[in-house]
Symmetry: C2
Subunit: 253 residues, 2 copies
DNA sequence: GCAGGTTAATTGTCTCAACATTATGCCCAC
DNA sequence: GTGGGCATAATGTTGAGACAATTAACCTGC
């Protein structure tokens, strides 16, 4: 075998739990990811074959394949028919997932705080209505916030939500991330379509983000759908580009 | 059933071909996607159950599930245990896939042309070497290009590739996209890690992109891996933000 | 009219199995 | 020494099946 054979430590899969509510494929994927990120399974190396892992764990091959596929989707592994599965060279960053900025920052151990600048119920104009798949004139909640990270302004967030969310309280919006609040009322956040661009900041944004007027901001327009396929949020965000960027991993289909 | 029952035209799956080299799950996914994008399967509507589609097509349920999963991954469908599978409301854009800008533009029917500004073989500095997982000092090909779309400058592209690609000819690089050239020599492009940001353009970029000095550019740094997991390209791109943005779809895991 | 239990529909997970395709390495004949 | 054929290893595709979990609708008793 041209590449280094895997010698995996006994404890790599020691705590797999068939009685866990967490599916087995997810547990296996998680263990493999940890081993890759920690270097236990070296970058550039080949991992054991699907059959070998299935035999080692006494788990079916389709379940192992499902675990490996998750890591392929994350850009950590590549597979080749007839050869095997390899770990990508170098260190792979974690991609942006479907979370709010608040969650991103909290997960990165950064203290995130929010100032609510605007909170009003409006009649949706035609553009907002079209984006949210609502009739024009329907009520929507419009909020505008500034997000700080460790005391430094990072983003200005402008969001429209359908009228059913009009009862989101200002205090709630300052104390938690928007997606947390939505989840806590039973909304399953499933899909977000994003368009990422750049432009010069407005005078208002310059002031809020402590930038020179006309300086570049990174922008992101996002339309989010829930578990029933309904549009639940239209967001237009402006980020200070020295303090925020988007990481993504693309995997060829 | 609360939502509209599917009444699918006979011809939706008329030309599925069991003898095709294209896998059946891919054919089914493709037909469903076309039907969704054309409105034959309406936005917001529910699709037939997995079992119903499997019976209709005399194809196994795992194969149908694989097809549906592809559309879920594209952000077109959402599934709910106990309820069924729904089409997302509104029109879903196609996400950026793992292609070069040249391919993006060509696929959008835009005439893309390239001017090669720099083409040199260098010894990799420590940063480039680290990113490409090469020893410092190893030869790398450095190219810099300006990409025009329909006669208008869109991007300045700065790329480093490992020394084995040093024989890529200037004429080739102007006549075709980088990824086309790589594929034509057997490189399977599989994964790209991207970091998207913004900054002020440099004087040189201002000139090349016909912008005011200091105006915002959209930036993208990309590290691309091939089918063996090796790093094959480090790209640093600057885009005119009025002429280019990134669309992505995030799907909750 | 409402609440609780039951049933049905549907997706989610896992198992087992077979065959296809690709890639590589080995062996043998020339 | 080289080329072609064959075998092996590994992933890719498809099928069949069983059971679990979730959700909604329906029915019954109060």
């Amino acid at each position: 075998m041209a590449l280094e054979e895997a010698h995996w430590p006994e404890e790599l899969f020691a705590d797999l739990d068939r009685t866990s509510p967490l599916p087995m494929y997810s547990q296996v994927a998680s263990r493999l990811e940890s081993a890759i990120r920690s270097g236990v399974i070296p970058a550039g190396g080949r991992i054991e074959s699907e059959m070998a892992i299935a035999e080692r764990l006494q788990i079916s091959r389709p379940t192992i394949r499902r675990a490996i596929q998750d890591l392929v989707d994350k850009g950590l592994l590549v597979r080749q028919r007839g050869i095997g599965t390899q770990v990508v060279q170098g260190q792979v960053e974690r991609s942006v997932e479907l979370t709010s900025l608040f969650e991103d920052l909290s997960q990165a151990g950064i203290s995130a705080t929010t100032t609510l600048l605007d909170h009003e119920v409006l009649e949706a104009d035609e553009d907002v209505a079209a984006r949210l798949s609502l009739p024009a004139g329907d009520p929507v909640l419009h909020i505008r916030r500034r997000r700080m990270a460790d005391g430094v302004p990072v983003a200005v967030l402008d969001n429209h939500l359908p009228g059913e969310f009009a009862d989101l309280l200002p205090a709630s919006l300052e104390g938690a991330g928007l997606y947390q609040l939505l989840r806590s009322r039973g909304v399953g956040i499933r899909i977000a379509q994003q368009r990422i661009g750049a432009r010069a900041c407005t005078p208002d944004e310059a002031s809020l983000l402590e930038m020179e007027p006309g300086a570049p901001v990174l922008t992101m327009e996002r339309l989010t759908y829930d578990h029933t396929g309904r549009a639940i949020e239209l967001g237009r965000h402006a980020y200070h580009p020295d303090r925020y960027s988007f990481s993504t991993t693309l995997v060829a289909r």
